[in-house]
């Protein structure tokens, strides 16, 4: 299972990477924003995307929309991890068709639960 994690914060990239490794996922590719993620998507063909929302160049919602319109990757499980915890935010993420949503700060157990949930939904 290859993960693509997208966040403009190097700290968050490391934290998410470590958390994923702790729950047994070692094959991880990183991207620093949505645009970078779209390039990495083509290069690495990941099985799962974990993305932040607020990023320069292309944010997580636009990235999700782009992936959903992609001929090959439109069904990729996408998990959003963000500081945004308002109703309108969740609505917007849902419109863009993220598979699940975590509000920072998060616990590793929550990440594991959400990843499993996304994978079950995608199966």
């Amino acid at each position: 299972m290859k993960f693509l994690i997208v966040d403009d914060s190097p700290t968050m990239l490391r934290i998410i990477r470590n958390a994923l490794q702790e729950i047994g996922y070692d094959d991880i590719v990183e991207a620093e924003d949505g645009e970078d993620a779209l390039e990495k998507l083509e290069e690495n063909a990941p099985d799962f995307v974990v993305t932040d929302w607020n990023m320069p160049n292309m944010n997580g919602v636009d990235l999700t929309s782009n992936i959903r319109n992609h001929p090959e990757y439109s069904d990729l499980p996408i998990l959003m991890i963000t500081t945004r915890g308002m109703k309108e935010d969740v609505k917007t993420a849902m419109k863009a068709e993220v598979n699940n949503y975590i509000v920072k700060p998060f616990e590793p157990e929550v990440l594991e639960e959400k990843v499993d949930s996304c994978l079950e939904a995608a199966a």
Binding site: N69, M94, I102, K104, A121
Partner: protein, 325 residues
């Protein structure tokens, strides 16, 4: 004959001129005062201008300072993560060594048993006393190995909470991301005020400043921060969500959201720029989501009517989970 009207006209002009002189004499003191006032106000405006420019410079320094603080925390966080990685690596190494020792104990016990069996086989009867002594010694060795194995297990058990705490420290470093977004938000605010002052000064100086030059105060749609970011680890929202979920029974989301599982869902809604552009700007005055709001949204098929501006409660993780189930 024709010079008479001209003389009359000349006299009229003289009267008018005299009237103007009279008027001027009356207004002269007022004009003097007006002139003095303009001189005074000019000095005052120059002082205000200088003060504003100075303050604007202070703001620039403040934004630079905030940026350097942000960079410093990023570096420090990275260092902490490096150290945490090293500690976790060392812990894994110690655990591996413990496992190796345990395997060696098992091998040693096996070898001892083989030696005893071999001695019994080779020496046969008549050496029971010697064989019993060897068995007794090996029994003591096994006791020692069992004791060491117990100590190893204790050591292994004590490593587990250390690893958990190290992982917790790493997870706590999410505060850096939140702080970074808060600092970026403050910086954006300061820069907005500074830009407005600059626009005002330009208008005062040249009279040409365009109103459109003044920033709106809203972050751009590609802003890399959330103005409302906060580091909240309380489980209050979680408990509140539990209550709401228990009351609602949950909604059935559609589309790709976890639990919905219909991969063939159209992505038309996702492709509309309206959805993303509205989302992209940092929400200065967004409405906090309550569980019932979110449930309503999913009961509607996730489309959302765009309503619900009434003040609600912040959506907790559990509330959000409910949406995706």
């Amino acid at each position: 004959m024709s010079s008479r009207p001209q003389v009359q006209e000349f006299l009229d002009k003289l009267d008018e001129l005299q009237a103007i002189f009279v008027l001027s004499r009356r207004f002269a003191p007022f004009l003097d005062e007006l002139f003095d006032f303009v001189q005074d106000i000019t000095v005052l405006l120059e002082e205000v201008n200088t003060t504003i420019r100075t303050r604007s410079g202070h703001m620039e320094r403040a934004t630079e300072h905030l940026k350097s603080v942000s960079e410093a925390t990023e570096v420090a966080t990275s260092e902490i993560l490096d150290h945490s990685d090293e500690v976790l690596k060392d812990l894994r190494s110690i655990e591996d060594q413990l496992s190796t020792l345990e395997e060696q104990f098992a091998e040693e016990a096996k070898a001892d048993n083989q030696v005893l069996a071999l001695l019994r086989e080779e020496l046969g009867e008549g050496h029971e006393e010697l064989l019993d002594e060897v068995a007794r010694i090996q029994g003591r060795k096994q006791d020692l190995r069992d004791e060491w194995a117990a100590q190893l297990q204790e050591t292994r058990d004590s490593l587990s909470p250390i690893r958990d705490r190290m992982n917790q420290i790493m997870m706590s470093l999410q505060v850096q991301d939140v702080t970074e977004q808060q600092l970026s938000s403050v910086n954006h605010l300061i820069e907005t005020v500074r830009d407005r002052i600059d626009a005002l000064l330009a208008r005062l100086g040249t009279g040409q400043a365009d109103r459109s030059e003044a920033p709106s105060g809203e972050p751009s749609r590609t802003a890399a921060f959330n103005m409302n970011a906060e580091y909240d680890r309380s489980d209050d929202k979680q408990r509140m969500a539990d209550d709401v979920v228990a009351g609602d029974g949950g909604g059935a989301p559609t589309g790709r959201n976890s639990g919905g599982g219909t991969n063939g869902a159209s992505s038309q809604s996702a492709s509309s720029n309206g959805a993303s552009s509205g989302a992209s700007s940092s929400n200065g005055g967004g409405t906090a989501a309550s569980q019932s709001d979110i449930d309503d949204m999913f009961d509607d098929g996730g489309g959302g009517s765009g309503g619900g501006d009434e003040g609600g409660e912040a959506a907790s993780q559990e509330e959000i989970d409910e949406l995706f189930q």
